[in-house]
Symmetry: C2
């Protein structure tokens, strides 16, 4: 039998543990019992910090959402031609995803069974829509290829970016740093893999 | 109480039901009981067709794997410059994914808990490797931008393609057909979203 650790958690450090468990077991598959075991403190100690697992979920996905929406308020997202702005937002989205990997992973995996999950999905859609609007503006400027459907391009762009949560591991041997990945996504999505012909 | 249907299944039609259940509940979370309920026939009727759920998994992922590897034997994958061949394989991969959507979805979701799952993951890696080899050959021909890491490009290309299983629904109103999606993936990945400057 393991002895319960003394509760030295803050809401912040408890969140780190919870996000790990949510990502491993899925939010639906996680009970307060699982969280208590992973944190090594009693359930009542957890309730001392948060009202329950949905509050932990809300805090965790908020961190990802705030990170993403924060990008849109940065100067690079607001000035210059739309195509430059959308490239900037793409680059920064990859950087935020890498910096907040477990939180964004959780955000991308929520499935809409609770109010918090539905709210998170709604906010995520809003973010995608903001990027779609920028792509649309760039197309109107004549800076994007005319034969590309913008809604489809948005899907594929986020498909490429969001796939990072499946395979990107910052500590992996021979791994890529945030800059390399961000640059590769922007170059591939906007300029393509082919050499200029 | 529902009456069990008379067993009019063939191994093929039973597979369709099983793949649906696997994709909904996850392979690990699916029992013979779930399959029996979804098919509306008894467990012993299912055992009349297959040895168990792992055989159904093997048949299902084989269908996806055979579809993907079949592409590599097509004339378009074998002749011409490497960059043309890899564009061909990319386009056909999207088409196979769309044509075999539930089967490829299952293939992309297996997690390696059984021998069949590990085999499927291995075959999938082999396919990715074949595409990476083509990209490498295209880079050696000078047809791909020199500043792009090939391993990273392969990951991002499959990230874009595989994201289709998350959002593409062939019957969706205002949806895209297989051709449109395949063309969009190839154009975005190889030529980029930007107009030629």
């Amino acid at each position: 039998m393991t002895t319960a650790r003394r509760d030295t958690y803050t809401p912040e450090t408890l969140l780190t543990v919870a996000v790990g468990v949510f990502n491993e077991r899925g939010y639906d598959g996680t009970s307060m019992e699982h969280l208590s075991k992973a944190a090594g403190i009693s359930k009542s100690s957890i309730y001392h910090h948060v009202a329950g697992k949905e509050e932990l979920l809300r805090r965790a996905v908020s961190r990802a959402i705030d990170g993403l929406f924060g990008i849109l308020d940065e100067p690079g997202a607001g000035r210059g031609r739309a195509v430059e702005r959308v490239e900037y937002v793409t680059r920064r989205t990859v950087e935020v995803l890498v910096a907040e990997l477990p939180y964004v992973t959780l955000l991308l995996r929520v499935r809409g069974n609770t109010r918090t999950e539905r709210w998170a999905m709604e906010r995520r859609r809003e973010f995608d829509q903001r990027v779609a609007d920028l792509l649309k503006a760039a197309a109107n400027d004549g800076d994007l290829r005319a034969d590309m459907d913008i809604r489809l391009a948005t899907r594929l762009l986020f498909g490429m970016i969001n796939s990072l949560v499946e395979w990107y591991r910052p500590q992996a041997a021979g791994g890529y740093d945030s800059d390399q990945v961000a640059e590769a996504v922007v170059r591939m999505a906007f300029d393509g893999l082919r050499t200029e012909s």
